[in-house]
């Protein structure tokens, strides 16, 4: 455990960032391995990864393409299962959870932002943002609408609620994806190269949005990025190489 904490030691917070991070671990990975196996080839995507992310932290993960960053994010987000190792959310290992329990955790605790937005093209902006709330028991239609409007307002898209994703620019689509993550009010946002498809101005906008969320709402954010500049805006930078954590 000590070794792991040394490897993932927090860097000083960027100037102006409020002290939202606590030492309370919200995500804890122990000896995580992920091996993709075909008939002829075995590819090690993650090799004995140990990582702890504390509540309120904004962590960025960097590394060359194919080093296992997105796989790690998928495993943290319970979208994929590790080949071996233990994942703990709020101190509880999730391996033994049923499909229903995992779905509940994904819905209640985690918000996802993907590089390619992953919006449903046949649904309006508002309907896309409402999606996570559809799977949440006890949230009625009216509340869903209100929360979706509020989330869209937060990302500055309240005038585009009835548009379809195909009618929006890349930056706007990513903001819709962030609004969708926000609508569920998750404790953790996992962002996989959220600015990867955007120009630098749009990228900055999205980054500011995420920083604001972390600083104002205390949302824990884990972001995979190729952009060194953006990575340095976060509280901690973790580097990966060939499936292993190198710093």
């Amino acid at each position: 455990m000590e070794n792991m904490l040394t490897q993932t030691a927090a860097r000083p917070l960027p100037t102006g960032a409020p002290l939202t991070a606590t030492s309370q671990p919200v995500i804890h990975l122990r000896d995580i391995e992920k091996v993709y196996q075909t008939k002829t080839i075995e590819t090690v995507a993650l090799n004995r990864v140990n990582l702890t992310i504390n509540k309120g932290e904004f962590v960025s993960i960097m590394g060359p393409s194919g080093c296992g960053k997105s796989t790690l994010l998928s495993i943290i987000g319970l979208l994929d299962e590790p080949t071996s190792g233990v994942i703990e959310l709020d101190g509880r290992p999730v391996q033994s959870y049923s499909d229903k329990e995992l779905a509940y955790l994904r819905n209640q605790k985690i918000g996802f932002v993907f590089q390619s937005y992953h919006l449903i093209n046949d649904l309006s902006v508002l309907d896309n943002v409402e999606l996570p709330l559809l799977y949440r028991a006890g949230v009625g239609g009216k509340e869903r609408r209100e929360r979706a409007y509020a989330a869209l307002d937060k990302v500055g898209l309240s005038a585009r609620t009835n548009h379809f994703p195909s009618q929006l620019s890349g930056g706007q689509r990513q903001r819709v994806a962030i609004a969708r993550a926000l609508a569920g009010r998750p404790e953790i946002i996992l962002a996989d190269e959220p600015t990867g498809n955007l120009d630098s101005v749009m990228g900055e906008e999205i980054m500011d949005l995420l920083l604001g969320l972390n600083q104002q709402e205390g949302t824990t954010i884990v972001m995979v990025t190729h952009d060194e500049q953006q990575a340095h805006k976060t509280q901690r930078l973790i580097r990966f190489f060939d499936g292993s954590q190198v710093s």
């Binding site: 499909d99 229903k100 779905a103 993907f114 996570p132 799977y135 239609g141």
Partner: protein, 396 residues
């Protein structure tokens, strides 16, 4: 979630329209096959109108003997009636389960023409031999000897089609030329003489007595139906054949039971029915494969969406339910269109079948289409939902 389903279906109306069209066509194919199958089943469930057990059929061929043919036949009938073990004997122009028939639409009542009608020339004992169920009036008998008109009994189907709610008994039919008249004295419940799957076609029994020279030519062959006591065996059969030989002095005669004829006819009509059933099954499999292919493709196209929904908190079951729900809504719309078309069949009287047949076929086709689409949607969506969300998300 229901509103979400409808939103999704509406926003995908273009691709759903094609799916709906596929379902509508599938429904229609299944409806037509169902009409044919249900009609046969419907007929099978209807009363035959007569009993064929313990009835023997004698086909008697006088050959070149044209002298005293009617007299010989009259004596033969009397001799047979007098034989112990024989309950009744009738002389008829045709028999149930025969491979030939005699029909006409020459009859008229006032200005109304009769439907195509099966004709049986029979004597007074037909009612006893076949156990016909007279539901109105009476069967013809010697009281009609003095009638100036032909005396007839019709089946209920004929009465319904010609007179509707009015009583058929006492009505007088005529022909196009108005040179002959037929008076109805009774109505029998049904007479499905073709086979177990035949419909109860309009039928007229015309009284014919051996002394009726107008309807009996001297060159006619004779068919006799003989009701025997239950349990009568080969001994009685030989006895009757010997009696026929003795009375007719060498006329050819062969005997069958109506039960055997019924079986033979059943085999004959079952062959096309089995072929139809196989064609129906083939069509159903084709429809299922077509739907399965379309739905499989549709669901595969939406793998990334499935991954996304799983990432946002949908369980595998919720995904399956969503796809099933979407398919059921689309199927309902397709079937509704199909039902609109199908309902034209009874309204326009296409095929001329009983109305319940069409409605049963609609029900059957609806159940089949819903079952097929449910199976075809559930399986691919289950497979897709079982894939790890991360894998589905990479499909985009």
């Amino acid at each position: 979630m229901i509103r979400h389903l409808f939103t999704l279906i509406w926003n995908r109306k273009r691709s759903n329209f094609l799916l709906m069209a596929e379902i509508l066509l599938s429904f229609f194919v299944l409806f037509v096959v169902s009409v044919l199958l249900v009609n046969n089943y419907y007929n099978y469930r209807q009363p035959m109108g007569f009993t064929s057990d313990n009835v023997w059929e004698f086909n008697i061929n006088p050959g070149q003997d044209t002298i005293n043919r009617k007299e010989t036949l009259r004596r033969l009938v009397q001799e047979l009636k007098a034989t112990p073990g024989v309950a009744a004997v009738t002389w008829t122009s045709n028999t149930p389960f025969s491979f030939s028939n005699n029909n006409t639409d020459e009859y008229r009542y006032k200005d109304k023409g009769a439907p195509q009608t099966e004709i049986f020339d029979t004597d007074d004992d037909m009612v006893k031999v076949l156990g016909l169920n007279v539901v109105a009036g009476r069967w013809y008998d010697s009281r009609d000897d003095a009638s100036s008109r032909h005396t007839i009994v019709v089946n209920q189907r004929f009465a319904d089609e010609m007179f509707g709610q009015e009583s058929a008994v006492g009505k007088v039919l005529t022909n196009d030329k108005h040179d002959e008249e037929w008076q109805i004295v009774g109505v029998v419940e049904a007479f499905r003489s073709g086979s177990d799957f035949a419909s109860n076609d309009p039928t007229i029994f015309i009284r014919r007595a051996l002394q009726d020279t107008a309807r009996m030519s001297n060159t006619e062959q004779a068919t006799l139906l003989v009701r025997v006591q239950p349990g009568s065996a080969a001994v009685l059969e030989q006895q009757l054949v010997r009696k026929i030989k003795a009375v007719t002095k060498g006329w050819d005669a062969n005997v069958n039971t109506l039960a055997e004829n019924r079986k033979d006819k059943l085999k004959f009509v079952m062959t096309p029915l089995i072929a139809l059933g196989l064609v129906g099954l083939f069509l159903i499999i084709n429809v299922a494969l077509g739907l399965f292919g379309v739905l499989w493709y549709n669901i595969n196209q939406r793998k990334a969406e499935i991954g996304l929904r799983r990432a946002l908190g949908a369980t595998g079951n919720a995904i399956s339910r969503q796809f099933l729900g979407e398919m059921l809504v689309v199927t309902t719309l397709g079937v509704a269109g199909g039902l609109l078309l199908a309902v034209q069949f009874p309204l326009l009287g296409v095929f001329g079948l009983a109305t319940p047949v069409y409605f049963m076929a609609m029900l059957l086709a609806t159940v089949l289409v819903f079952t097929l689409t449910a199976i075809c949607a559930l399986q691919p969506s289950r497979i897709a939902a079982a894939i790890q969300p991360a894998v589905s998300l990479r499909e985009e």
